[in-house]
């Protein structure tokens, strides 16, 4: 606000005083009904938002559960089908890295058509993600491996492969990928190799 000298500029002072009176004579607040309506609207809006959020969370949870179930079922069915394309797991030579089991640095070599020995000393790499090489999954534990392993070739979506722990980039989640999966006798996936 400007300071107006009422002696030098009487009309300015009068105008300022009049504007001041006009301001003071006007309503200072919006009517209470406006606030009440807005608060009601706020409550309605947030109840709706909470419901929507809960529904979305439930839907996502259902989808994840359904995908996991389907994947498990599919793996079980595939394992049970004798006509399925199966390859013997490539032989893995024992490695010095067994001295340090946590190191997990050895790569399963490119498959060779030989039966898998009962126990293996080495652990496949968890770092190699290149196509053509097997990569150990979280379920693989060299100390626990017993019996024959099998390689099953499957066509799965990137998302499904990610679910079992394969290093598939997120942008390939919707793509169908051909992969070889090393399965234990009980169907547990031990390693994966992206074929195409």
């Amino acid at each position: 606000m400007r300071d107006i000298d009422p002696i030098r500029n009487p009309s300015e002072a009068l105008l300022s005083a009049a504007l001041n009176r006009l301001a003071k004579g006007s309503a200072r607040q919006a009517p209470a009904s406006v606030g009440a309506q807005l608060v009601q609207e706020f409550r309605r809006d947030h109840v709706h938002r909470r419901r929507t959020r809960k529904a979305v969370i439930a839907l996502v949870a259902c989808l994840v559960l359904a995908t996991a179930t389907l994947l498990t079922l599919k793996l079980s069915v595939d394992d049970a089908q004798p006509a399925m394309v199966k390859q013997p797991l490539p032989a893995v030579a024992p490695n010095a890295s067994t001295a340090n089991p946590s190191a997990a640095t050895q790569t399963i070599p490119t498959p060779v058509q030989t039966p898998l020995p009962g126990r293996r000393g080495g652990r496949p790499t968890a770092t190699s993600t290149a196509q053509g090489e097997f990569m150990a999954l979280g379920a693989y534990d060299p100390a626990m491996v017993s019996g024959d392993l099998q390689v099953v070739r499957l066509e799965l979506t990137g998302a499904d492969l990610r679910l079992v722990g394969a290093p598939v980039p997120e942008d390939l989640a919707d793509r169908h990928l051909l992969a070889d999966i090393v399965l234990a006798g009980d169907g547990t996936p031990y390693a994966v190799r992206i074929v195409r």
């Binding site: 006009l22 006007s26 200072r28 807005l38 609207e41 409550r43």
Partner: protein, 194 residues
Amino acid sequence: MAERLSDDQELLRQLANGNEDAFRTLYERYQGRIYRFALHMSGNSAIGEETTQEVFLALMGKPKGYDPAKGSLAGYLFGMARNITRRAMQETADDIPLDDDADWDELAVADGLDVLEELSNGELLAALRQAVLTLPEPYREVVVLCDLEELSYQEAAELLECSPGTVASRLSRARTLLKKKLSVEKVREQKCAT
């Protein structure tokens, strides 16, 4: 709620999380200014109410729409209030047309008269209210913000996104226009009386 709701950003964050107290605090903080701004700009209490409601509905619907880097929350809300008021006035055709140039020709006669002194208090306020409403929008805004809402030039400049110098010059021009409009009104009244 025991938590102290202090600054606007924190209130907005809580508003987005559905905190009703945060919404009430923000509403109480800004509703008066927004309502009065819309009321003085339009001269219509319904538009004042509608604008207040729409501004807060917009804030409620999109609390993250406010970017602190672009200015104060008050400025953001006033920006919305300006647009909503303008639109509402256009829709309701309540915007009073500006006086034509012929009226202003009388000013040469009226300008020298200190007719403000001759008007009674009630007459003066009624005439002044009308005169404010007939000011062109940029002038009306500065009169409403600086004279009626008593904001500083700096504050008004931030809200109007212009420089304080622009606010000052617009206000000076607006006051001159107001005095002239009041003078014209007085001259008309005198003509009617005779």
